[in-house]
């Protein structure tokens, strides 16, 4: 093998190219095929797109970085399915952009929180002051959510992006209906209303399996 390595060592460009080739195999074998697997590209039959209110709640969820402390990923382990509900599958997240799986559980997983027998009232009290209902909680309070009204200025565009760019099956009629609600009953909705609606929507695709 004479001195081929000295050629590589002395040509930074060649070394970069060969390094990229070397590290790409893992991705080529583990990631690329997923783009064409039905399990990851086909939505579950029970999945429904978010309403505008839930979508607004999801945006607040992202803005407040809830996903930093809460995962949305129930793993196929008995202890987790016992505590949270059915384990997560890829077909549930086909319309999630971006996905909010998270990577660390400082708080509990929320992927099935909408299936749990928790009242809307509890969610509101808990968001305003978690220690009011769970004294040992270390979750920060989010009292401003109840005071801020939802900023609806981008919602129509958001829904259209999800429809056109991400392939979420909203019809034009659906978007009109949602925007009528935004101008009507949800016009003065608070961010808390939106977040609670979003939380209660989580896991609904798996209601039958609970």
């Amino acid at each position: 093998m004479a001195n081929y390595h000295s050629v590589i060592e002395k040509n930074v460009g060649l070394m970069i190219v060969l390094t990229l080739v070397a590290v790409s195999f893992g991705g080529l074998a583990e990631i690329v095929p997923l783009f064409w697997q039905k399990a990851t590209t086909e939505p579950m039959s029970t999945l429904r797109p978010y309403s505008a209110l839930e979508m607004a709640g999801r945006d607040v969820y992202i803005r407040e970085s809830c996903h930093v402390c809460h995962t949305q990923m129930v793993r196929p382990l008995r202890a987790e399915t016992e505590r949270f509900g059915p384990y997560s599958v890829a077909g549930e997240d086909v319309w999630e952009h971006p996905f909010l799986w998270g990577s660390k559980r400082t708080g509990p997983d929320l992927d099935r929180v909408g299936l749990r027998p928790i009242t809307e009232q509890w969610h509101r009290e808990h968001l305003r002051d978690p220690r009011q209902v769970v004294p040992e909680s270390n979750m920060p309070a989010y009292p401003w959510l109840a005071e801020n009204t939802v900023d609806w200025s981008h919602m129509e565009r958001t829904l259209k992006v999800f429809k056109n760019q991400f392939g979420v099956p909203y019809s034009d009629q659906d978007i009109d209906d949602q925007m009528n609600k935004v101008r009507g009953e949800w016009a003065d909705a608070t961010e808390e209303d939106a977040v609670v609606a979003y939380l209660l929507s989580l896991g609904q695709a798996r209601r039958e399996e609970r």
Binding site: L28, W36, P76, L77, P117, I118, T119, V134
Partner: protein, 303 residues
């Protein structure tokens, strides 16, 4: 997974393993010239790069990982559609785990189901199981110590909105409860003063000493006749009605706060409380154990 992707993955995996093995083999031997010189011939800034045979321990580790990966790929899924000789998958592992625990726990739950709720809480095993179920299902509202929170009843005292019998507790958990007190301000006069008077009256029911203050005594006297509308649910003697979930107002236990302001708010706005039903969330046997645990919280003395 289609045939194409299966072959594609197998090809990449096999090529990688073969590539690693070949890379190792061709670098194993040094040419006689290299061995003589003890250097690779590289010189950077006057520093010579020495050439040594690969250390044995490192070489064996490398070969070990190659052998490991071959054994792994034979036993576990990794080569496209080939599922491995062990036929392992995370889903079947989960199913086996669930089935195993069910097999071990179901006889226990069946046994518990034969014991009436009133006695079951004295079984230490049932108490342990019930405590876990409580922690996972009830504690977020009623607290991990079951002492409740504002708006969420304390389950360790002997004060019950819907009754503390075993049947009533089981019904509360299974079917849930809807507690509804309408706004009462209009019915008792509608003025702030009337609400204030009534709040003092209600507060004085569990604190008779308050009427020592002549101001309070006057307010109480003004409110007393209007309590008739409250009595429809809370009873003439204000001790409540468990059929309606109307709390006893004379025992000094306050679900929505003991302060005068809290009581005024309750009178003015009413209260809506909702205990979700757990039928369908937990199996009947588990509900039975849970009811026994809750029953035991206020029927201590067994230890």
């Amino acid at each position: 997974m289609s045939q194409f992707w299966s072959v594609y993955i197998i090809a990449i995996v096999v090529l990688n393993l073969a590539g690693c093995a070949i890379l190792l083999l061709v670098n194993l031997k040094m040419t006689p010239e290299e061995a003589r010189n003890e250097t690779t011939g590289h010189s950077f800034d006057g520093i010579q790069e020495r050439n040594q045979p690969l250390p044995r321990w490192w070489l064996f580790l490398f070969v070990g990982t190659l052998i490991f990966s071959v054994i792994y790929l034979v036993l576990y899924p990794g080569l496209g559609r080939f599922g491995g000789l062990l036929n392992w998958s995370s889903v079947t592992q989960w199913q086996e785990e669930v089935a195993l625990v069910e097999k071990r726990s179901e006889p226990l739950f069946q046994e518990f189901a034969k014991v009436p709720v009133e006695e079951l809480h004295q079984y230490p095993e049932a108490r342990d199981v019930g405590g876990r179920l409580f922690a996972n299902n009830c504690a977020i509202c009623h607290g991990s110590d079951a002492r409740g929170a504002k708006g969420y009843p304390n389950l360790t005292d002997d004060d019950w909105l819907y009754g503390g019998s075993a049947d009533a507790i089981l019904a509360s958990i299974t079917q849930g409860r809807n507690g509804m007190m309408p706004p009462m301000a209009a019915a008792i006069g509608g003025t702030d003063a009337a609400v204030h008077d009534m709040a003092l009256y209600v507060q004085s029911l569990s604190r008779p000493d308050m009427t020592g203050d002549p101001q309070v005594a006057k307010a109480v006297e003004r409110a007393r006749p209007k309590f008739a509308v409250c009595a429809a649910c809370h009873g003439q003697d204000a001790t409540g009605n468990q059929a309606l979930g109307a709390p006893n107002l004379t025992d000094g236990i306050w679900l929505h706060g003991a302060r005068l302001e809290d009581i005024e708010t309750t009178i003015r706005q009413g209260r809506n409380s909702h205990m979700p039903k757990h039928e369908g969330v937990l199996s009947d046997e588990r509900l039975h154990v849970l009811a026994a645990y809750v029953y035991g919280l206020s029927h201590g003395g067994e230890e």
